[in-house]
């Protein structure tokens, strides 16, 4: 089911946690809300679930205004970071909980509930563990029970709040792949919150990058990574280097000279140049950025070098082959292969 968030505002005490946020979630897609802590991503998720009420704005499930409906009536599946399993119930009872609390008229018969719960446990690969209690399971298993429990009510939308945040790296990797599989098999509209960009880029069909209660950019992982809409997205997603520059004569200038980067559409004036440290080429001659090596360290198969560019106190980082002979105080000239110039004033 399509979900439409319209001009949502949420105010906690003084500051707005969400400020006029609108978002369209398409039926069946897997969408990630990504942002640093305090960006309002969890608040947005909880508003969709109905666990918070918006200060202003509306949320539509399909064509229906869900803002007026209670949590119980919205029929969402919600998975918490800390699992939130009922530890007085077995795994099977946890999964069937959503069905057993239904009013008698819509509640399936007992045998049917059991059959469906077992089927879901099979889907999350926990067959045979239905008699265990949550505290007898590992973190990864618990989160899979939580997911099965959320799926049991046939939710209109599946909402996951940092579902893998409490798990260790390896389990997280595994569950990530597996969540994608489950999503592809069941086809539920799924929204998940994460602060892990790698997770978001790998898992989601579309990303919503948020910061300070606003949506910065919505797009596919490729769009977000290759065409960041603003300095925040550029520096938040992936690695980036930034340098204050000036745009003059449709060219990028720094330290009083052009550096060979055309800027045909940018307005003249002070600006910031953004590029990825690995997306550069070393140049021998011609207009280029030139700097002196201030520090260098080996990162896996490459060498991360910090350069001081002509008189600027800020350093930029670039990646060199690990066997590059650059030593301290060596002068290096390079040009970003891909870059973005943002007008100054909205730095990050």
């Amino acid at each position: 089911m399509d979900i439409r968030v319209e001009n949502i505002r949420k105010q906690f005490s003084l500051y707005p946690a969400l400020d006029d946020v609108s978002l369209d979630i398409r039926s069946g897609e897997l969408i990630a809300l990504l942002g640093p802590s305090g960006s309002g991503k969890t608040t947005l998720l909880r508003l969709v679930a109905g666990l918070e009420t918006p200060t202003a704005g509306r949320i539509y499930f399909g064509d229906e205004d869900a803002s007026l409906r209670t949590v119980q009536e919205r029929n969402v599946g919600f998975v918490f970071q800390a699992y939130a399993l009922f530890r007085n119930m077995t795994v099977l009872d946890n999964v069937s909980f959503g069905l057993t609390v239904r009013p008698r008229a819509t509640r399936p018969p007992k045998a049917e509930i059991r059959r469906r719960a077992l089927e879901l446990l099979d889907l999350v690969q926990l067959t045979g563990l239905e008699k265990r209690y949550p505290q007898q399971l590992s973190g990864g298993q618990r989160q899979r029970v939580a997911l099965a429990r959320a799926l049991a009510v046939e939710p209109t939308v599946l909402l996951l709040d940092e579902p893998f945040g409490a798990l260790d790296a390896q389990v997280r990797q595994e569950l990530r792949k597996w969540l994608r599989e489950i999503h592809d098999r069941t086809g539920h509209t799924t929204v998940f919150v994460t602060h892990d960009q790698e997770e978001a880029l790998e898992l989601a069909d579309r990303l919503v990058v948020m910061s300070q209660g606003r949506i910065e950019q919505v797009g596919s992982p490729d769009e977000i990574y290759d065409r960041p809409a603003n300095p925040f997205v550029f520096s938040f997603i992936g690695e980036s280097s930034a340098l204050p520059v000036t745009v003059k004569n449709h060219e990028v200038w720094t330290g009083g000279r052009a550096i060979g980067l055309p800027a045909p559409h940018e307005a003249t004036g002070p600006a910031s140049l953004y590029f990825r440290p690995h997306d550069i080429e070393l140049v021998e001659d011609g207009a280029a950025l030139a700097g002196v090596v201030a520090a260098s360290r080996r990162v896996g198969g490459t060498r991360r070098v910090e350069l001081e560019i002509g008189g600027h106190p800020d350093r930029v980082e670039i990646d060199l082959p690990f066997d590059h002979p650059a030593g301290e105080r060596t002068r290096i000239a390079f040009r970003p292969k891909r870059w973005r110039v943002f007008p100054a004033g909205r730095g990050s």
């Binding site: 679930a49 109905g50 666990l51 949590v71 119980q72 919205r74 029929n75 969402v76 599946g77 919600f78 918490f80 800390a82 939130a84 399993l85 009922f86 530890r87 007085n88 909980f97 959503g98 609390v101 239904r102 209690y133 505290q135 429990r149 959320a150 049991a152 009510v153």
Partner: protein
């Protein structure tokens, strides 16, 4: 000496002793002892002997020795005499009144204690701290004062008691209900509260109130809001959430509170004597009977009744503890 059982050094023998690697300080204490039973699990925490010794001495002086003395006294009575005292109708009735009212009072306290704890934890209202402090009053108030105040209130001429008395509005209203198949006098021939077993229950409710509240409160305070939210997203109504998610988690704490309130009620004397009327075979509790025996210089008889009370109370507390241990295993740590 008990403490020596904790030694894990193997006794010296003539044969070649397997060379242990030199492990200094704390590590040495963790070395596994001889296989089999050991009195205390190895721990790196120092001071077991000192604190355990203190615990034993303290418990002995305050609890164990007096109780052993009590049983010795009771044991000096010949067996047929013990049986005679124990099966005397007056003793049996007193024990029944004591344990019966304590049980009812503790159960009532479970229900109302839960509600009070819920209100204190879940809502923020003007005067909450004051109410919170009031809960502890039964601990601080001399029980005799409580007994006198309660009996004044619930006596037939007291504020509350007069409502239930023969000329009270409740009685009148009941009498006016002509459609009832039975009159009030058949249903409850005695609506007096003070000077009856009902009065005892009220006094015991009063002195036991703080226990359930104080044991449930911290558990409720730490209850994860997420569990309730999870239940709500799954479609559970408020009532279903409380009954199926919250209450089971409170069970161990409720049991603790129940056990404490019950134990306290069984031993209560001061407040009960004022409100109970202490009529033999009707509203006489076992502690009162013990005091009466003492006043008659029948120390042996008093010791026998006290011993019986002690055994019954101990068995009940043990059972409650077992249920608690079970529920703790079942519902996880609380």
């Amino acid at each position: 000496m008990v403490g020596y059982l904790t030694r894990s050094t193997p006794p010296l023998s003539d044969g070649p002793v397997p060379a242990l690697p030199p492990v200094p300080g704390l590590i040495a204490r963790l070395r596994p002892g001889p296989p089999g039973w050991s009195f205390v699990k190895p721990s790196i925490l120092p001071g077991f002997r000192l604190t355990f010794g203190y615990t034993l001495v303290y418990l002995s002086l305050i609890v164990l020795i007096p109780i052993i003395g009590l049983f010795l006294k009771a044991a000096s009575v010949p067996l047929e005499e013990i049986v005679r005292i124990a099966t005397a109708p007056r003793t049996l009735k007193a024990l029944e009144v004591s344990f019966g009212s304590s049980l009812i009072a503790a159960l009532v306290n479970v229900v109302f204690g839960l509600i009070v704890a819920w209100v204190l934890v879940r809502y923020r209202f003007f005067g909450r701290r004051l109410l919170d402090a009031i809960v502890d009053l039964p601990f601080a108030l001399p029980t005799a004062v409580a007994g006198i105040a309660l009996s004044a209130l619930y006596a037939p001429k007291g504020w509350v008691g007069s409502l239930f008395s023969e000329r009270g509005p409740l009685w009148q209203w009941w009498q006016a209900q002509t459609w009832l198949p039975f009159g009030i006098s058949e249903f409850a021939p005695n609506l007096k509260i003070a000077y009856t077993p009902s009065g005892i229950v009220i006094a015991l409710i009063f002195i036991g109130l703080p226990f359930v509240v104080r044991t449930v409160q911290p558990v409720l305070e730490e209850f994860e809001a997420e569990l309730e939210e999870a239940a709500a997203t799954l479609g559970a109504s408020r009532l279903q959430t409380i009954v199926r998610v919250i209450l089971p988690r409170l069970t161990p704490a409720v049991l603790t509170g129940f056990a404490l309130a019950f134990a306290r009620a069984v031993g209560e004397y001061g407040s009960v004597i004022f409100i109970a009327g202490n009529l033999p075979h009707i509203s006489e509790i076992a502690p009162v009977l013990i005091v009466i025996k003492l006043e008659e210089f029948d120390q042996a008889g008093a010791a026998v009744i006290a011993g019986i009370m002690l055994v019954i109370a101990f068995v009940m507390l043990l059972v409650i503890n077992l249920i608690q241990a079970w529920s703790r295993r079942r519902f996880g740590d609380v």
